[in-house]
């Protein structure tokens, strides 16, 4: 089985084009094994 998560979060392409500290970033890579409760991104 498969779970697909879709969610809104602050994005890097702010109008000024600069990346602000509040942008959402994934902290996983393709193929990573994850477990319940581990951070996918911040």
């Amino acid at each position: 089985s498969t779970v697909v998560l879709v969610f809104q979060a602050p994005t890097a392409n702010t109008p000024e084009g600069s990346s602000s500290s509040s942008d959402f970033r994934f902290c996983v890579k393709h193929g990573d094994r994850v477990r319940v409760g581990e951070a996918l991104g911040r």
Partner: protein, 347 residues
């Protein structure tokens, strides 16, 4: 008479031999293919979408009935003395971690009970950082990223993508504004279009509306996680959020393993699935639990009466999604980060 029996005596071993040789050839071919794929992967070559005969063959099989038959088989009670042997064999075959099971193996009356087992306290600590989103399941990250443009396509595998609105349903709260339409037009459409009453309801509260609306400061992200048969199969909440609506799509039950993603078109949009949609502090959130042949059932602890993979009334036409709005006042059901939300089950 003796000639006939002599003929049969020759025929039977010959047919058996031919069958064994054919199965051997198929297995050898499968091993060879698997080796080729492994070599490509080691070279970092990403495999492309490539439908094949097996995928077409799966398309004509009664996979839902097969899944329900599998469910009936795995729900049979196993004699107590036999249970440890069966579950140890299962965990050896599918690399399950028996040490984490909450109960002694003898306590799981059937393979299904064992499959939906919960874990010992503390086995899955929840990341306390309030800014982070946590994994709702155990599994392997197969795709993740930011959705660009208003069409919102997720790559199933290199060379083939599916649309998020097809995955979540046409009525989705997804903050996508179609090309050439601004948000206000979109809301007017909702106002006129009565069969979207729940959408009008859930966007009634301005607070909710403003928190979901598309904004240049917010992006739409996605993450696709594949669960292998031996994994822990309960689904937890990825953040503190409010579930507003549940959508059940009575779809196909193709396998969803790596090979299926490379050979079956629109796999996650075709398959039986349950979608929860709502809002979290950063805006829109949706969680789609997609079933597979051996795991046709998706149960929600927040809605115990929901049943999936039921016998279909009509053979082929795909039924529209069956929807339920949680708490029509528009606040939805509160789901705390890390709390159990549902579980995948066999059959």
């Amino acid at each position: 008479g003796s000639g006939d029996s002599k003929g049969n005596a020759f025929l039977l071993p010959g047919a058996t031999m031919a069958t064994i040789l054919m199965l051997g050839a198929l297995h050898a071919r499968r091993l060879y293919e698997g080796k080729k794929i492994e070599e490509k992967r080691e070279k970092g070559i990403e495999l492309e979408f490539h439908p094949d005969v097996k995928a077409s063959f799966l398309g004509i099989l009664p996979l839902r009935s097969i899944s329900r038959a599998w469910g009936s088989l795995t729900s049979l009670e196993i004699p107590v003395w036999m249970r440890p042997y069966v579950y140890k064999a299962w965990s050896r075959a599918f690399h399950s971690n028996l040490k984490e099971a909450a109960l002694p193996l003898e306590e799981y009356a059937s393979l299904q009970d064992f499959f939906v087992r919960s874990l010992k306290e503390g086995c899955r600590p929840i990341d306390p950082d309030p800014r982070c989103l946590v994994s709702p399941v155990d599994g392997t990250v197969v795709r993740f990223g930011e959705l660009k443009g208003s069409r919102g396509m997720i790559e199933q595998v290199k060379g083939h993508s599916y649309s998020v609105s097809a995955l979540l349903g046409n009525n989705s709260l997804l903050p996508m504004v179609p090309e050439g339409k601004d948000q206000s037009e979109e809301e007017d459409a909702v106002g006129e279009n009565n069969d979207k009453s729940w959408l009008r309801v859930s966007l009634a509260s301005p607070k909710l509306r403003e928190s979901i609306s598309a904004s240049p400061m917010k992006g739409l992200y996605y993450c696709v996680i594949y669960l292998r048969p031996g994994e822990y199969h309960r689904i937890h909440s990825p953040a503190d959020w409010n579930a507003l609506v549940r959508r059940h799509f009575a779809g196909r039950l193709f396998p969803v393993n790596e090979r299926a993603t490379r050979t079956i078109r629109n796999l996650y949009v075709e398959n039986e699935r349950v979608v929860l949609e709502g809002v979290w502090k950063e805006g829109f959130m949706a969680l789609a639990a997609v079933g597979a042949t051996n795991i046709g059932s998706i149960e929600l602890f927040i809605e115990p009466e929901l049943r999936t993979n039921k016998p279909k009334k009509k053979l082929f036409p795909t039924e529209p999604a069956e929807e339920r709005v949680y708490d029509p006042e528009g606040h939805g059901l509160k789901l705390e980060k890390g709390k159990e939300v549902g579980v995948f089950n066999m059959g």
